[in-house]
């Protein structure tokens, strides 16, 4: 049983209860970065097309914003 006393006295050396709690909730320690790495997604052809469309969209958006700033500054 984890008591309030244990919590209050907790420090980085005495941390068994911390590990127990986090482990029971399936949470990783902060420094155990990506203990379960998912890796890069295997993209379906549709998603690949979508991502390329987004690249074009991003480029067009950038042009739109720059044009907008240019117009506003010119006024």
């Amino acid at each position: 049983m984890i008591t309030t006393k244990k919590m209050t006295n907790s420090n980085v050396e005495n941390n068994d209860w911390v590990i127990e709690i986090l482990n029971s909730d399936n949470l990783s320690l902060a420094n155990a970065k990506c203990s379960k790495p998912y890796g890069k997604a295997e993209l379906k052809p549709f998603v690949k097309i979508l991502l390329w469309t987004m690249r074009v969209y991003v480029l067009l958006s950038f042009i739109l914003i720059v044009t907008q700033i240019f117009i506003s500054l010119k006024k």
């Binding site: 907790s10 980085v12 941390n15 986090l22 890796g39 739109l64 907008q68």
Partner: protein, 465 residues
């Protein structure tokens, strides 16, 4: 199936790593949740909800920020009570649909939004998301400080002092060094968003008309013109924005949300959406009195002192108390958004760079995280103080960037929640996908129309109003 040997190996991995203050603080929070869940006392259910609410309310009320509330105020002053009241309710329903996806993503993957994009779609999209968010957030922060300046301006506080007060208060909350403390202070602050309700009551609106508008969507705002479309786009932009996706997912991860907590996190998000819609509607109702009395407020929302102008215009109808409450509500809106938006940038920075990123860390442990958070707010505050800074241009660009950045953010969100490798049993179902894709298509179309209209107006092809 989880076997005993897998559990032992997982424990061994955990034991071999150093426990940080972030883990200790998170474990304390999780222990409280566990105790509340197992307790059989009559108040345990309420206690559990109290422990798990937070990010959902903060994200929704954080989006009821300075410019959003001024946008609602301008809507009320221009169109009165009618179509826009149920429209605000609809936009917050859409916001709930979108934010619920981030709740599941955070609970199942224990990763932030930027982190997942980086991991699953590569560094180009990871960095793009972070930089896109950072630029949008930085400019939005400038607008929040304009709101703070404007709110305090009503009380005669000079701009440099008003901005300094706002910055100082924000930094004090940011440096609470404990996620739980930060969240609770921000929640207390967010309650003051309700100040729009007494203002609405003080102008003595026709409540029957408000009820009728909610049910019948009428009276309609008249003929469809560019001005009406701009108000519609502006109110959509005031409800669903990219920083919300990043913020809620990162905050839930920092809180240590698990799949067991999803139902409570949904209640949290729904409650936030309900409160934000109620306060947004109250802002419209409050300023509808200006519409009724034919007060021209068309230049208020674009000005640097919009809140003060609205408060002064409301004084004859809501009294000095009503006007004061309106100015205070705008001040709160700017302040809360400064805290939440700065943290969303800092979280995304940490997630993409791999640096420590948690409000449970001390400043010493997460220097980069706190530096980004404070630097964003300080830089935005400095811009507002600079004499003759192009604030009107910044307000315009903020809206354009927020609208244009939304489609990629939403598309990544939908791809991620449909990723079975990430989500397992929590992958998006058919009905959830219909809603999510429907909302995405609506927002993309709305954003595209607005973007095209903005540029055509700028080129002089369309008239200004």
């Amino acid at each position: 199936m989880v076997t005993l040997s897998m559990q032992k190996s997982s424990e061994a991995t955990l034991l071999s790593m150093q426990v940080t203050t972030e883990d200790i603080q998170r474990a304390k929070d999780r222990l409280r949740v566990r105790n509340a869940r197992t307790s059989k006392t009559p108040f345990s259910r309420l206690l559990l909800l109290f422990l798990l609410i937070g990010p959902g309310i903060l994200v929704m009320l954080g989006e009821n920020d300075g410019p959003s509330m001024l946008s609602y105020a301008a809507t009320g002053a221009t169109y009165g009570i009618g179509f826009f009241i149920p429209f605000i309710v609809l936009t917050f329903t859409m916001a709930f649909v979108v934010q619920e996806l981030t709740v599941r993503l955070a609970a199942v993957t224990h990763r932030g939004h930027a982190e997942l994009i980086f991991e699953r779609f590569g560094s180009f999209w990871g960095w793009f998301s972070m930089i896109d968010l950072a630029i949008g957030n930085l400019l939005t922060l400038v607008v929040e400080f304009i709101a703070i300046q404007s709110g305090l301006g009503y009380f005669g506080v000079p701009t440099p002092i008003a901005v300094s007060i706002g910055l100082l208060l924000s930094i004090t909350v940011m440096l609470s060094r404990r996620y739980w403390t930060w969240e609770r202070i921000a929640l207390v602050l967010s309650i003051f968003n309700c100040l729009f309700i007494p203002v609405a009551i003080l102008v003595h609106p026709h409540w029957g008309q408000v009820g009728q508008a909610l049910i019948t969507w009428s009276p309609l705002p008249g003929k469809i013109n560019q001005n009406l479309l701009l108000f519609i786009m502006s109110d959509i932009g005031a409800t669903v924005t990219p920083w919300m996706l990043f913020f809620q997912q990162s905050a839930l991860k920092d809180k240590g949300l698990t799949p067991k907590d999803i139902p409570h996190a949904r209640i949290d998000t729904a409650l936030g959406a309900f409160l934000a819609a109620a306060f947004g509607v109250a802002a419209i109702v409050a300023t509808s009195v200006l519409f009724t009395h034919h007060v021209d407020a068309s230049n208020f929302s674009s000005g640097a002192f919009a809140a003060a102008q609205f408060a002064q215009a409301l004084e004859p109808y809501a009294g000095h108390i009503g006007a004061t409450l309106f100015a205070l509500a705008i001040l709160e809106a700017g302040l809360l958004a400064t805290i939440t938006i700065s943290s969303s940038t800092a979280y995304a920075f940490g997630e993409v760079t791999g640096a420590a990123h948690s409000l449970n860390r001390s400043v010493k442990e997460a220097k980069g995280f706190y530096a980004v958070m404070i630097a964003c707010a300080a830089f935005a505050a400095a811009i507002v103080i600079i004499p003759h800074a192009p604030l009107t241009l910044i307000v315009l660009v903020v809206n354009v960037i927020a609208t244009l950045a939304m489609p990629p953010a939403l598309i990544f969100l939908i791809l991620l929640v449909n990723d079975r490798k990430l989500m397992g049993d929590y992958v998006n179902g058919r009905i959830a996908n219909i809603f999510a894709i429907g909302v995405t298509v609506f927002l993309v179309l709305a954003g595209s129309i607005w973007g095209i209209m903005t540029i055509l107006t700028g080129l002089g092809i369309l008239p200004n109003s």
